[in-house]
Amino acid sequence: MLKTNPLQPALQKEAEAQPNRQQERLSRAEALRERQERHLQLALTLAAPLLLLGIWEALSEMGILDPRFFPPPSRILMALWQMLLEGSLWQHVRISLIRILLGFLLGSVPGILVGLAIGLWKPVRALLSPLIAVLMPIPTMALVPLIMILFGIGELSKWVTIATSVFFPVAINTAAGVASIDAVYLEVARNFGASRLAFFTRIALPGALPVLFEGLQMGEAIALLTIVAAEMVAANSGIGYLIWSSYKTFQIPQMFVGLLAIAILGYVFSLLLRMLGRQLTRWR
């Protein structure tokens, strides 16, 4: 049929290009489908909280929910706006942020070092494990009076409180991480002449990293818990203080702003930690 067609060469070329073009079309369709799926998921993710807020707003406006205790979200937003303008919100958030970050560092760095030592050296394990096992179950909040006696009522005692609560999960998970390292890697290190330091930094630390990061995540959650509780009982600034003092002076919208702040802070903190962890354990 095409034999006498003067367009034959062009058609042939077309036919050769066909598979390529077809592939392109397919991949474009696939990309579109994926995008649609993503958009749908995003819509669903946003729908649930928005719907909830809408219902809350309506119930509160209609008085079915007591607006004194559950002010409509629009009022909370207004309080948020006002506190942002005054700068009081930022002050509370900043002081809590500093406490959490410093406390987290002060607790996790020694936690990692002690955990590595426990995991690597039997004598250290024999020395420290029982101590940690006895100290760990004590809720950090129960130690707050003691910490204040030792470190005063200033910022230092807040950092120490958080550090204490972070230290244990990090140390225990790090030790477990070292224990999870396949024995053959330790033999490799010894056979190729690794020094004590290299053993620490090139075998134990990277090998323990996946489990260690689970410990950091736990530590982060506990740090958040501790800082709010500590600020409620023994501080005159910070998000915990904001929540508690707003409640006591019956400024309920402000209390909700505090809750929102701690939720966002916790979310961002754990997100950053997860990203860091994923980056550092790309080899898995």
Binding site: V184, Y185, E187, V188, N191, F192, G193, A198, R282
Partner: protein, 265 residues
């Protein structure tokens, strides 16, 4: 005749675990010569890995001694290619190959030179920045080989390095090993449970008896080098050797099974 590189005298090793004694090796006396490729073969569980670990100094003998004749204090006495999973998963291919060199604190330029050289020799250059999880089993064992060769040890210890590979990959790696080894004939102690592999690679084959491992016999491989799989396979001398080793191993395994079923009864 070359002098002795490894002297093993009345070596025994006993493990104590959960109050149970396991005798892994019993009264082994063996000399391995400088530059020799010594294959060690024996049924699984007869203490082959234990013997290598003892030579490497990763474990201490229960009785007897191992003497290594070290010539050059600047070279490591031993480097091991481990059975499986000896490649460090959190280091890239390149970092793994350079690991031993870094641990020995060689000058940076020397580390780069040797790492590049062995990456090339093992065909890993294109994968240098990959992590082990992205590699096939054969590629991982190439990394392990390159890492051990790169430190230029006086003695290479290999613990069934290719036993987990499929047959084609195994053949390829055996040839690569022979090629790299022939450049500079180091002393090699090569543990295997494959008779073919022992014949292809070894100058001598040491047969160990079933658990506890004792020295059963030593065979000399009468085949010229360089060796290739094709010629070795068709050589009647290798067929004879195969048969004699197999008969020996069969009696060992049957003996061990007989003993265990008798003790079970």
């Amino acid at each position: 005749m070359a002098r002795n590189k490894i002297e093993i005298r009345h070596l025994s090793k006993v493990y104590l675990r959960n109050h149970r004694l396991t005798q892994a090796l019993q009264d082994i006396t063996l000399n391995i010569r400088e530059g020799e490729f010594c294959a060690i073969i024996g049924p699984s569980g007869c203490g082959k890995s234990t013997l290598l670990r003892l030579i490497a100094g990763l474990q201490q003998p229960s009785a007897g001694e191992i003497v290594l004749q070290q010539e050059d204090p600047n070279r490591p006495p031993t480097a091991m290619v481990f059975q499986e999973q000896g490649v460090l998963p959190w280091m890239t291919v390149e970092e793994n190959v350079a690991f031993g060199l870094r641990m020995r604190h060689l000058p940076k330029a020397e580390i780069v030179r040797r790492t590049d050289g062995y990456l090339q020799k093992t065909g890993l250059t294109a994968f240098r920045h990959a992590y082990p999880k992205e590699l096939s089993g054969g590629m991982k064992q190439r990394v392990s080989l390159a890492r051990a060769f790169a430190v230029d040890p006086e003695i290479l210890l290999m613990d069934e390095p290719f036993s987990a590979l499929d047959e084609q990959n195994k053949f390829l790696l055996q040839e690569e090993l022979l090629r790299i080894w022939s450049e500079k004939k180091r002393t090699v102690v090569y543990v295997t449970h494959s008779i073919d592999e022992a014949i292809l690679l070894g100058d001598r084959i040491v047969l160990l008896s079933a658990s506890p491992g004792r020295l059963a016999s030593i065979e000399t491989v009468p085949l010229p080098r360089p060796r290739h799989i094709e010629t070795i396979r068709t050589d009647p001398r290798s067929a004879d050797l195969f048969l004699s080793i197999w008969q020996h191993l069969r009696s060992q395994v049957q003996h061990a099974q007989g003993a265990s079923s008798a003790s079970n009864a």
